[in-house]
């Protein structure tokens, strides 16, 4: 309401948890899948969930809901490979496609039966639909789009940090006297954990207890996106991005040239997308894509906070900017102060040179 811009209530330091709530133990991660594929955000969360569970000294569980068969079982094993100790599985024909009603019922029943203290869900279209419904049904707190999760050992509570006001501020939110503590996290925000195929664990099956005729919403059709030729920034290893410092559309070709030599995707800031130089799918930042490549090259980009939140977790950031005081130099790994019109082509040549020498060598 009017006060929403102020901290709504100072978190009290020490809170005795209601004994009924103290029974809630363990960290859960919802394993989201569509068309036979687990969404990578679920494994990213599994990596994060592992750290939280270790800190609390409890078990980490995956939750898989889907149609009976090989796929859902495989997802359970994959959950263990990514760090889970066990996996809850509801396999029912009714769960073949995502629908709010049966998935909300499945998840709330599992929570009420097994009582986890923390439940993490990916902030995807599916995850947000489910999380909001489950939290309301369970009457518990839900923190959206977190970028950092930590345990406050004082009261074993989840401290969830999230950007707010379009990314210009961060806030830390706790859910003290309610269980489970729920949070959603956007894809590519957390690191992908290493998979370890030797890890195993138990699968706990649970019935759904709902029949098709009881579900009002029907899926008539599913039209998969045609990804052919569409930019795939979220999963690129290398991204070369340009900003307003490139000045003219024809200069932006220099960005494409460098990307081509590196087999990289091309990214851009919002003004570039708004000017129509590249398609909207290439926008990196708060209102665009969150990316986490191994190498991010930013040319003629100032490093505004709305751009930064979408790319700052890249392994290495190279910034090229004519202004030595540009904010991008505050968080890039390497910087070259200079004219991007000259530096970018020089970099293209240097990478090309490097590639041809290394090919000859080996």
């Amino acid at each position: 309401m009017s006060e929403t811009t102020e901290p709504r209530k100072p978190a009290r330091k020490k809170v005795e948890l209601d004994p009924k709530l103290a029974r809630y133990k363990g960290v859960w991660v919802f394993v989201e899948h569509e068309r036979g594929q687990v969404h990578p955000v679920s494994w990213e969360l599994m990596g994060e969930g592992r750290k939280l569970a270790d800190k609390l000294g409890v078990e980490l569980a995956g939750v898989v809901m889907g149609a009976p068969g090989e796929d859902t079982r495989t997802f359970c094993h994959q959950a263990m490979h990514h760090g889970a100790d066990l996996c809850y599985l509801i396999a029912d024909e009714v769960l073949r496609d995502y629908r709010n009603e049966p998935f909300t019922k499945g998840m709330t029943d599992l929570v009420n039966t097994w009582q986890p203290e923390i439940l993490l869900i990916g902030a995807t279209t599916l995850g947000r639909d489910l999380a909001g419904s489950v939290a309301t049904t369970l009457k518990t707190g839900l923190t959206a789009d977190c970028t950092e999760l930590a345990i406050d050992m004082e009261n074993r509570s989840l401290a969830a940090t999230r950007p707010t006001f379009g990314g210009s501020l961060l806030c830390t939110i706790v859910t003290l006297n309610y269980r489970p503590q729920m949070a959603t996290v956007r894809p590519r925000v957390m690191a992908m954990p290493k998979r370890d195929e030797s890890r195993t664990g138990r699968i706990v099956e649970h019935p759904l207890g709902m029949i098709e005729t009881a579900i009002i919403t029907k899926v008539l059709e599913y039209i998969p996106d045609n990804l052919q030729g569409k930019p795939q920034l979220a999963f690129a290893d290398i991204i070369v991005s340009g900003g307003r410092g490139m000045k003219k559309q024809e200069n932006f070709q220099r960005i494409w040239d460098l990307a081509k030599v590196l087999g990289a995707e091309v990214g851009a800031t919002r003004p570039i997308v708004q000017a129509g130089w590249v398609e909207a799918d290439r926008q990196v930042g708060q209102s665009g894509k969150t990316v986490r490549p191994k190498l991010y090259i930013a040319a003629g980009i100032s490093g505004a906070i709305q751009h930064r939140v979408g790319m700052e977790d890249s392994d290495v950031i190279i910034a090229i900017n004519s202004d030595p005081n540009a904010p991008i130099f505050d968080f890039a790994t390497y910087g070259i102060v200079g004219n991007a019109m000259v530096i970018v082509p020089a970099l293209t040549d240097a990478f090309r040179q490097h590639l041809s020498t290394s090919r000859m060598a080996g």
Partner: protein, 281 residues
């Protein structure tokens, strides 16, 4: 067809600044606007009204100033506007907000049954996308989120067919009314306010409800008391401790700079040379 559209007044986030020393939000002079995402749902509701007849009621919970947002909605063509405002709602999180809005919608229903509730995809301030699902669950309505198109509305049989954005494609869903729909951005373009509606908006006797008229039964479910989440701190992102290593050579010629850069890069990240070789065409 009776449609309720939930709209929230928000600060124009493009203009929010953080005080560099105290890390608090400087709100002075930040204009308040209708949450941009709510305009897509309002327009969608108005289109349904144009096609099937009926009425559109806009509903907002917020401080008295939120009246402006509701009048704006009237100027676009909404029939009725209700502002739910009471000190008791201050500090509500999404669970408490959905409780309050759901109670208000039940009150609205006492006059005319509600077929559809529209909400925005999310707001630009709280930005949680949780209030829509919350209202749906509390009213036991079917929930349709991230809708990019309403394919068909069969008023006679009370069914609706929509296209819903899923992660890797589009789901076509059919369900029964009443339901709650959240609309994806870009689904439509807001109409211009007509002169007539602008006059009407200026004179319109807004309905203002306090907690009693909004039908709040349980006072422990609203405001701070009814909010499980607690904001423990708000802060500006800390500048990274390590700044960029600025590449510097004697000549400062572009060629020397980039060669020095690559040498440093591949020394620090030997794997990267391998990744680049693998990726390169």
């Amino acid at each position: 067809m009776h449609i309720v559209v939930c709209i929230k007044q928000v600060p124009d986030s493009a203009q929010i600044r953080v005080h560099p020393v105290t890390n608090t939000i400087m709100r002075q002079g930040v204009p308040a606007i209708v949450n941009p995402y709510d305009l897509y749902s309002l327009e969608e509701a108005l289109r349904l009204k144009d096609r099937y007849g009926g009425r559109v009621t806009v509903l907002s919970m917020g401080p008295p100033q939120a009246e402006t947002a509701l009048r704006k909605a009237i100027s676009f063509g909404a029939d009725e506007a209700i502002l739910v405002t009471d000190r008791a709602f201050a500090g509500s999180d999404t669970l408490a907000t959905s409780y309050a809005l759901a109670s208000a919608i039940r009150q609205i229903e006492k006059d005319i049954p509600v077929d559809l509730v529209f909400a925005g995809k999310q707001t630009i301030d709280g930005d949680t996308a949780q209030v829509g699902p919350g209202i749906a669950k509390r009213l036991d309505m079917r929930l349709l989120t991230y809708i990019s198109k309403i394919r068909e509305l069969d008023a006679l049989h009370g069914t609706i067919t929509v296209e819903r954005r899923a992660e890797g494609g589009v789901q076509v869903l059919k369900t029964k009314l009443p339901c709650l729909v959240t609309v994806l951005e870009g689904t439509n373009e807001m109409r211009f306010a007509t002169m007539n509606n602008m006059f009407r908006a200026a004179r319109y006797p807004l309905k203002v409800w306090n907690k009693e008229s909004a039908g709040i039964e349980d006072l422990t479910k609203i405001g701070l008391k009814g909010s499980p989440t607690i904001v423990s701190k708000v802060f500006a992102p800390s500048p990274k401790a390590v700044k960029a290593e600025i590449i510097d050579t004697e000549s400062n010629q572009p060629k020397d700079l980039v060669v020095t850069l690559l040498a440093k890069l591949f020394t620090k990240k030997p794997d990267l040379a391998h990744d680049i070789a693998k990726n390169a065409p």
